[in-house]
């Protein structure tokens, strides 16, 4: 600058008001820039936090949503029963269909329940309780004559443990349901639908 305008520096420095004006402007600009930078950084980090929270919340909502959807699936409902009372035979059919991960039924299940980006394990189990006397006579029984467990998942059953260990987040929810064996419909059994999801 001094090379290009050899006389300018001296004149500028001699003008006290100009120097102070520049200082003031510089100070004001610094305050604005620092303030604005902090604000932008704060907005940016807040947005990142909101996005992460939104994803986490969605994930938290997924397990109960999926469990509720399974409980209310029309093709699992026992004949002539209220919604939420499932048929043992229908559950067995569905578990068999969905055990083949390459099947169209599996793809449809993933599509219908929005499971494209998360791993899942669904377990449906009946609860059976029986108490007997020391002589073997039954004094109390609830549910079916034996316990039944069905399950299907997004991965091979053998690799579920490895998937869960490697997952960033795992959530599980259990919804109580009633299950009916169509061969003895009067014996409404207690049971549950357990949904485990991970990502």
């Amino acid at each position: 600058m001094r090379f290009l305008f050899p006389n300018s520096r001296g004149k500028l420095l001699q003008d006290d008001e100009a120097v102070v004006g520049v200082k003031e402007d510089t100070l004001a600009l610094a305050v604005v820039l620092i303030g604005f930078s902090i604000f932008v950084a704060s907005i940016f980090s807040s947005m990142l936090w909101v996005e992460e929270s939104r994803k986490t919340n969605e994930f938290h909502d997924d397990a109960p949503r999926i469990a509720d959807e399974i409980v209310l699936l029309p093709n699992l409902r026992a004949p002539n029963a209220e919604p939420g009372i499932l048929s043992l035979q229908a559950i067995e059919r569905m578990a068999n269909e969905l055990s083949d991960l390459e099947s169209e039924a599996s793809s449809e299940f993933i599509r219908d329940h929005g499971l494209e980006e998360i791993g899942y394990l669904v377990v449906i189990e009946t609860i059976q309780i029986e108490e007997t006397t020391t002589g073997g006579e039954v004094t109390f029984t609830a549910g079916l004559t034996e316990q039944h467990t069905f399950q299907w998942s997004s991965v091979n059953p053998d690799s579920i443990d490895a998937e869960l260990s490697a997952a960033q987040q795992v959530l599980s929810i259990r919804r109580p349901v009633n299950i009916i064996d169509e061969n003895m419909p009067e014996r409404v059994a207690p049971g549950f639908v357990q949904v485990v999801i991970w990502r």
């Binding site: 604005v32 029984t141 609830a142 014996r187 059994a189």
Partner: protein, 186 residues
């Protein structure tokens, strides 16, 4: 010699800095408002969690009352109680009131029902179930005993149901059997 110009004496320049600080203050208020909005969204998540527990309470109650049970105190196949839990509880309370079953048999039935309810209520939850007839002092309590107070430090979720039982012979109006299930996360 003229007095040197400094920032503190330059009112116009000071106004510029004051404007900048004012601008910074407005940005800070904006940031605080933004954070407030974000905290509100967290409170909604908490509300969702409470709703979820309420759903568990209602579902557990419904499943328990629909469950089929069979009870025969001595296992001899006579004088048994059979049917869905709501009917069986009603019958057991009625039989205790009329003396058809003893207090010991009633407690045996209560213990057995408790094992059913314990397996229905999701793990990690505490519970208390009460069933009572409106015209008698007989009450069946499962889970946390009636002598113990409910944990007030937890969110309690109630599911209630009244069931009118005309078969008990108290006239056309029948007798009301009241059910109440409270659950909480331990």
């Amino acid at each position: 010699m003229s007095k040197a110009t400094v920032i503190s004496r330059d009112i116009q320049g000071f106004e510029a800095i004051f404007d900048a600080i004012l601008f910074l203050t407005i940005l800070s208020i904006g940031a605080v408002l933004l954070q407030t909005t974000l905290v509100s969204s967290l409170q909604e998540t908490e509300a969702d969690s409470i709703t979820e527990t309420s759903v568990q309470s209602r579902a557990s109650m419904e499943v328990f009352l629909r469950t089929w049970v069979y009870f025969d105190a001595d296992g001899d196949g006579e004088d048994f109680i059979r049917g869905d839990t709501s009917s069986a509880v009603n019958e057991a309370i009625h039989q205790l009131r009329t003396g058809e079953i003893s207090q010991q048999e009633f407690e045996q039935f209560t213990t057995a029902l408790n094992s059913v309810l314990r397996s229905i209520v999701p793990p990690g939850h505490g519970y208390r179930f009460k069933a009572s007839l409106d015209d008698s002092s007989v009450t069946m309590t499962l889970g946390l005993s009636a002598d113990e107070s409910l944990p007030t430090s937890r969110n309690l979720h109630f599911a209630n149901g009244d069931w009118v039982v005309p078969a008990l012979g108290a006239g056309d109006s029948g007798i009301t059997l009241k059910f109440e299930l409270v659950i909480w996360i331990r």
